[in-house]
Symmetry: none
Subunit: 207 residues, 2 copies
Amino acid sequence: MRLTRRQQEILDFIHRRLKRDGLPPTRAEIVEHFGFRSPNAAQCHLQALADRGAIRLLAGTARGIVPIESSSAEQVAVQAMRLPVIGRVTAGTPILAVENHEDELAVDREAFSPNPDYALKVQGDSMINAGILDGDLLLVHRPPQARSGQIVVARLGDEVTVKRLRRRGRGIWLEAENPRYKTLQVNAGSEFSIEGLGVGVVRKRMD
Amino acid sequence: MRLTRRQQEILDFIHRRLKRDGLPPTRAEIVEHFGFRSPNAAQCHLQALADRGAIRLLAGTARGIVPIESSSAEQVAVQAMRLPVIGRVTAGTPILAVENHEDELAVDREAFSPNPDYALKVQGDSMINAGILDGDLLLVHRPPQARSGQIVVARLGDEVTVKRLRRRGRGIWLEAENPRYKTLQVNAGSEFSIEGLGVGVVRKRMD
DNA sequence: CGTGGAACTGTATCAAATTTCAGTCCCGGT
DNA sequence: ACCGGGACTGAAATTTGATACAGTTCCACG
């Protein structure tokens, strides 16, 4: 079960406090930070986070909030790594082939979850309603465990595109986030693969 | 000043609990573990450890025991490019005031032009057509030389907002990039200032 | 011998923190 | 139109936890 936006904010806050103070926050501290007026607001969110498996709550324990490590996610020093930026993908080459590297981008991989492995320069406005514009860098996580509804980098024959993945039953669809583009269904037998999962966006210029 | 044998045992116990539970122990838990019969036994040891600089005690705070990293070569790695992340801006405070710092973000400042000075967590969807969504981090350059048509962080009284700046002749307008919001004109005499220029966007999660 | 520090016991008190109950409000889906 | 979930308000009960004060025991040291 996914977290709501608000729940994610609460979880982020818990992580920040843990990093800053070395202690999980109390309900009252959550209340203060978010401007709630009742400790129960915090309590409900924590309960929801616990129900969804994002944290463990120790009953009757002051500050008994223990975030659950989602995957490997060991926290070392924050490494700002240089990710390869992939622009045009030459037909017939693996996406990470050297000839596709166009640039490099220094980002904090740990700031994203799951951690990105490369950045893909998005061409076209087919994902405009997801807030992904032409020229944006989509940060991509490679091991492609993608669920329905997530934004993925997909390969169809020689074409590499960014789309929203939809699974229903046995079928797979690739949805654009722009009414001017049509959803395309992936038929079995077509040369199709999911190359990665979108985990973040970096836009280097505004206009 | 060196620690006594007993004090070292207490310190070790604190470390083990932190690793095992993710939380520092309470006085009562120390008492239980060592078989004391009075919470004051634990309290005295903690006070001694604090006096010797081995831990920091947060007064009046449940589990407020924070071991002090003696030296540990961890933090050496990065630096250089951590921008403060500003979330909710408390009314009446300068935007970069410490109480507004919510997090930090490691980015390559040089990748943006002009270089960003901080990141502002965008609230609301008023800039959705500019590809800036709720929760996005807007990278902001402080010296606010903004031309018409650029995206700026503006302050109107106590409110801090992200809008597109329009100058025409002597007039100044702040345009939302969302038809559901209306453009607002800045009248001379209103408490208005441009706090910075948007130079980039970082989105840390997709949904 | 006596003094002082370390290591406790025992008792209290009060603030910090958890937890529960009873609601309201809004929104999206059936 | 109704329902349920998410996101809260408000009040209150109860437990947890920190901390202060007054002692005791033991041992090392001058």
